[in-house]
Symmetry: C2
Subunit: 430 residues, 2 copies
């Protein structure tokens, strides 16, 4: 689409800017060079990395590799998360993923966001001792060991998880602060429906409750229809065991639902005959069953991760604007990008076939003319839901613009990034 | 297909086996329990994990998480790899990924296989200093910094890499030893064709050579048609920067070609007018251009990872047989599994839409009757190539069966796992 039509021209336009001060080196080296096919690393051929020091191997690095010490991207405390000291216990604890450094779709497990209401401590569970019990209004209650679960038919699906507290306002500086409470991983496990069929649902089975191994009660009511549709009892995450901070050895995946429902350290599922409201359903209290079920689902949302707040453009020329889009409603159908503050919206390129309830990476080729402007993204999902602008949200709830990130439910409004004359990028809501 | 038709019945059949000794606990707990929705963790409700000790948070764990200490899966030296001590320098160095523990499609970056001809040491490259030079028979040689590359249109694709030394024989015990020199990751970067269009190819451009920042020359001749098709200059791996052992900060991806061509620590690409044979093309020496180009491509290959060598079945009953399939010829079209030593082949379930030149996870529902047998898998790719049996390979090359893993090019023959009466799993080639 737009991208395909303009990329080549934009690249040529920007060729000068890109090559400026770079091609010289390349040309000099090329001309002064005999066409050796496997050249030795001689000073005159050195591009700056030939003389790199070597990192000695260690038994640990051979067995299990690590990232470069030049890569320093880390998780940070999310503004809404309350106490965040490593010794925080029994407190709301929100750690945001560094989206500004993200590439592709997968969030590295070490950088996956974490949200708990019990602090930085995590249960240290021995998988040999761990059990999952399924009971309630079923014909045959069953308890499964980890080995039992791994013998059953498995599924592998890429899904995002987002915390309902993932809200953006004018006081936040980076995309890690505005949107860092969402992540995406490749999850592997057994469909909950496979286990419930083994137990046999009674006709009175309407909702289910999940409990994790934590002092804080991890129970939340969810519709049994969701359980029979696509919920996963996950033991695998990005090709290895689920990480402790994400529920090792077992996590309930409820694709597209708010993060609070993806119960970590899962040990019990109870099938019940009615909707129970309990304190973990904060935000959903005093709702009818129908409203509650609907409110659980994450709306269509997207954000530009590069360029984003606190990043710096090195000058006019070509840049690919890139970011992530996701929706609890299913797969992303399309993403649009505006580079003029929302007056004109252009179709962005989707980087790979969108998966259901998964992050989708998008890109839009842009030549910055050096003038001040605002860049935004918005998405539409497969059931036709479109991500709203901040103005639309404020108007819908009839609240002041600056308060509109505090609306009931989730904040999935469009995020504007301001590009300043000096190439600095700042929060467009500030 | 087969799987869908039999899964339910097999599960019911195995229900007894699965529930045996397990349902009791579940039933007892369920009956003795009042229907609290958010139960506290009382001894009578404890399934073994409620009393788990807690792991205290640390600044390091908050910033960058780690796996559970109960997860001990590590890479090991591959039998063919020569010296493997961490201080090995300038030696062939092959480290195999633990496929027996793999779940899903992605290989965790920390466990991605490593093969070098320069030992355990890796270049310690400062990305700010690193440059990629493209020269040779081009209109305009160019040199790119990491920041230049990250401004250009990006692609994100899941691709496997396999070492030509990934061969299985009767002396190996586990699937890590037989097939561990292959891995799969989500790679992000710039298409090489995007950069070559900027440089402008001269009409004499027929092949290209890649050089990495290592003492050992990393150059190999590759067809320019491949460069313009799907080669990626990758800076991202599984959502973060490429790991040092895999080429940080830049690696050449040549989807479907032997691992040796995926040049690590990439710093130079030279476009040339003819096929050069150099010592890194071992195995391809004395080949015609056409033969060489063809021999670069990985054939259709698959292996059962669970149950596999040295694993143990806990007794008769239901097991999902699962494994991985891949091909340099494109996407996997189908996978078949035999549970009777190759007499009958059954269609396996593909776990997700197969990607081109990517691992594809397959599963087949199986009820083990407790008798001795042999399980095998074979795959067919989108261009119709079918993975050969060991017998077919031996016959084709007219070599003894036991020597047939040493045939020219790759060994992509079918791998048999023997299931013994006691539930132990051993190498079917032994």
């Amino acid at each position: 689409m737009g991208s395909k039509r303009t990329t080549r021209r934009d690249l040529l336009k920007s060729g000068g800017a890109l090559a400026g001060g770079l091609a010289v080196l390349g040309q000099t080296q090329a001309s002064g060079q005999t066409p050796t096919v496997a050249p030795t690393v001689a000073p005159e051929h050195d591009h700056g990395s030939g003389a790199s020091p070597m990192v000695k191997g260690t038994k640990e690095l051979v067995e299990y590799g690590q990232r470069s010490h030049f890569v320093t991207s880390v998780r940070i405390a999310h503004p809404v998360g309350g106490r965040h000291s490593p010794d925080a216990f029994g407190k709301t604890f929100h750690i945001a993923t560094p989206l500004q450094d993200s590439v592709g779709v997968i969030t590295p497990s070490s950088l996956h966001y974490v949200a708990t209401t019990r602090g930085a401590f995590v249960p240290d569970i021995d998988p040999k001792q761990h059990r999952l019990m399924i009971h309630g209004v079923v014909d045959r209650p069953l308890t499964f060991s980890m080995e039992d679960l791994k013998r059953l038919p498995s599924v592998t699906r890429t899904h995002f998880i987002e915390c309902a507290g993932n809200r953006h306002n004018g006081r936040q500086k980076t995309v890690q602060e505005t949107h860092g409470m969402v992540s995406c991983a490749e999850w592997t496990g057994v469909l909950l429906s496979t286990l419930l069929k083994e137990c046999g649902l009674k006709t009175s089975a309407k909702w289910f409750v999940a409990e994790g191994a934590e002092e804080v009660k991890g129970a939340s009511s969810m519709p049994i229809a969701k359980a029979m549709d696509d919920c996963i009892i996950a033991y695998g995450m990005n090709g290895e065991a689920v990480r402790p901070q994400n529920g090792y050895p077992l996590r309930l995946m409820v694709p597209g639902f708010e993060g609070i429902f993806h119960t970590k350290w899962l040990r019990r599922i109870k099938v019940v005959d009615r909707y129970y409201m309990n304190y973990n359903d904060y935000g959903h209290l005093e709702k009818s069953e129908k409203e509650a079920a609907l409110a659980f689902q994450i709306g269509p949302k997207s954000v530009i991760t590069k360029p984003s707040g606190a990043q710096q453009l090195s000058g006019p020329g070509f840049y690919e604007i890139t970011g992530l889009a996701w929706s609890g409603g299913g797969a992303i159908r399309s993403v649009e990008v505006s580079t003029d503050g929302g007056k004109k919206w252009n179709r962005a390129e989707i980087k790979a076939a969108p998966q259901r309830m998964s992050h989708t990476r998008f890109g839009y080729p842009w030549v910055w003319d050096g003038k001040e402007t605002e860049i935004l993204s918005r998405c539409t999902d497969e059931i036709g839901q479109q991500q709203p602008t901040r103005e639309q949200v404020a108007k819908y709830w009839n609240v002041p613009f600056e308060r509109s990130y505090r609306v009931p439910g989730l904040d999935n409004s469009v995020m504007p990034w301001k590009i300043n004359k000096d190439g600095s990028v700042t929060n467009g809501l500030a």
